[in-house]
Amino acid sequence: MTPDVPPLLDEMTEQARHYLATHGIQSPIVVGIHSGGVWIAEHLRERLGVQRPLGRLDISFYRDDFSRIGMHPQVRPSELPEDLDGEHVLLVDDVLYTGRTIRAALNELFDYGRPASVTLAVLVERDGRELPIEAAIVGAHMELGKGEQIKLRGPEPLHLVRATVEPEDDTDT
């Protein structure tokens, strides 16, 4: 029912290679979204043989639900080691759900410069989009029942867990 992570990483790597080749992107900057996205981004960067250091984004300061749920208790600093002007960014997250996290991540990325392109890669793409955002590189597509949630646990070993959540829980991956 719940897929294993390593085959999904294989799938993502293959798609990413193909994508980068057909779009003529030589040396992307791989950027992961805290915390699951960073784990996936680390694997992807290694498998793609990208030399440039990994970027990490914590989008807490850019969330659109701050006025509802307040400050996230553990905000880690974002690290984007390089100037993004003119760069090709491979943005990585674990689960694409509503699209709000990606919206926030794009806003934050653009506060670091003007990238030439941003490509979204996710381990799992599930139903429930609330914004016009899609991933170009997808490990697995999943249709989940109402109130069902899929989460990445890690970092060692990386594994997906499926759970039923209370309606008021507003996790918005």
Partner: protein, 340 residues
């Protein structure tokens, strides 16, 4: 602001109650989140650490092309200053602007606050403009508590210095500066030097250092500049600067408040410098990697030698920079606490 209020109202200062035991709890929500920032006293180590960690994330923002986040977009923050300030007010203002809030600066010259408007009238008028936060500086101890007790439920109050009582965000930025350079507090010896008696900064620093379990906190001052209850503050008291500086990891110099001279707390500036001025020679008594801090503005040649204030041990300008990150952290945490 309100011309119709009773002209016979007594000056606001005389009506302010002293901060009692309750304010510690006033600043937290039922589930322990920071709702106002009035005093360091009564906060726990976890919360102080959370503030410093959050400030750390904001400090990294300086690397971005756009030094701004949308966290407090649409919020209005009022800097309500009844007492002059440059550094504190500007860093609060910049912190608010980097969080995308709108900022209103209101400087109320207390001597001219005699149009008859009471502090509560001023508050009610500002509340009617739907503001979200007051940053308050006042010459009277307890002013921020008084305002926090009387504001509408959704509004947060940050104490930017009240009389001799507290200046919590200054203490937090000092802790942030120390932590960035020294890491763990438990092995540190920290000395606070100068006018402890009149210093709200020193009070807040002592509370913060003790809550963070600093190895040893020393205060160094002449007897005339120490509060009577200094023994209850959890510090080691020194009246001799050379003895007190021995092996310390951090030296925090306080501004000598010259206006106090009139009240014969001190003989002369010259004599004070001879006895309590931090000079290059005296700095050698401290640990070789000792930090020199000062909340500003420094009186060069009165409490600190210029060569020390500008020297390699000095982190005085870093304190100013970190003040912005720490104030951003406090502002976003108190605004977040109202949501739940």
């Amino acid at each position: 602001m309100n011309e119709t209020s009773t002209p016979s109202a007594p000056p606001m200062a005389s009506r302010l109650p002293q901060p009692g035991p309750l304010p510690h709890r006033l600043q937290l929500t039922d589930d322990g989140q920071l709702r106002h920032m009035l005093t360091i006293e009564g906060l726990n180590r976890e919360l102080l650490t959370e503030i410093l960690d959050t400030a750390e994330s904001f400090a990294n923002m300086n690397e971005k092309a756009v030094k701004k986040v949308p966290l407090l977009r649409g919020k209005t923050i009022v800097n309500l200053f009844f007492e002059a300030s440059t550094r504190t007010r500007t860093t609060f203002e910049l912190a608010a602007k980097r969080l995308s809030a709108d900022v209103l600066n209101i400087n109320i010259d207390t001597s001219s606050a005699t149009k008859g408007e009471s502090l509560l009238d001023t508050l009610r008028n500002l509340e009617a403009m739907h503001v979200d936060m007051f940053v308050v500086r006042h010459a009277e101890s307890g002013a921020a508590h008084f305002i926090a007790r009387h504001v509408a439920p959704g509004i947060s109050v940050l104490n930017a210095g009240d009389g001799r009582h507290a200046h919590p965000t200054q203490a937090l930025l000092d802790m942030f500066t120390i932590r960035r350079h020294k890491g763990d507090f438990t092995r540190l010896k920290v000395a606070i030097v100068g006018d402890i008696l009149h210093s709200r900064v020193a009070r807040s620093q002592i509370h913060a250092l003790n809550i963070l379990q600093t190895g040893e906190v020393r205060v160094i001052a002449p007897c005339s500049l120490l509060p009577a209850d200094v023994d209850q503050l959890g510090v080691h008291v020194y009246n001799d600067l050379d003895a007190g500086l021995k092996d310390v990891d951090v030296i925090i110099m306080l501004r000598l408040q010259r206006e106090r001279m009139e009240h014969a707390h001190l003989p002369s500036e010259h004599e004070y410098y001879q006895l309590f001025g931090l000079t290059s020679r005296r700095l050698q008594l401290a640990h070789p990697t000792c930090l020199v801090m000062h909340p500003g503005p420094a009186n060069r040649g009165v409490e600190i030698e210029s060569a020390v204030a500008d020297g390699p041990h000095s982190v005085i300008l870093e304190q100013v920079t970190y003040g912005i990150s720490v104030r951003m952290a406090v502002m976003s945490m108190v605004m977040g606490a109202h949501q739940s």
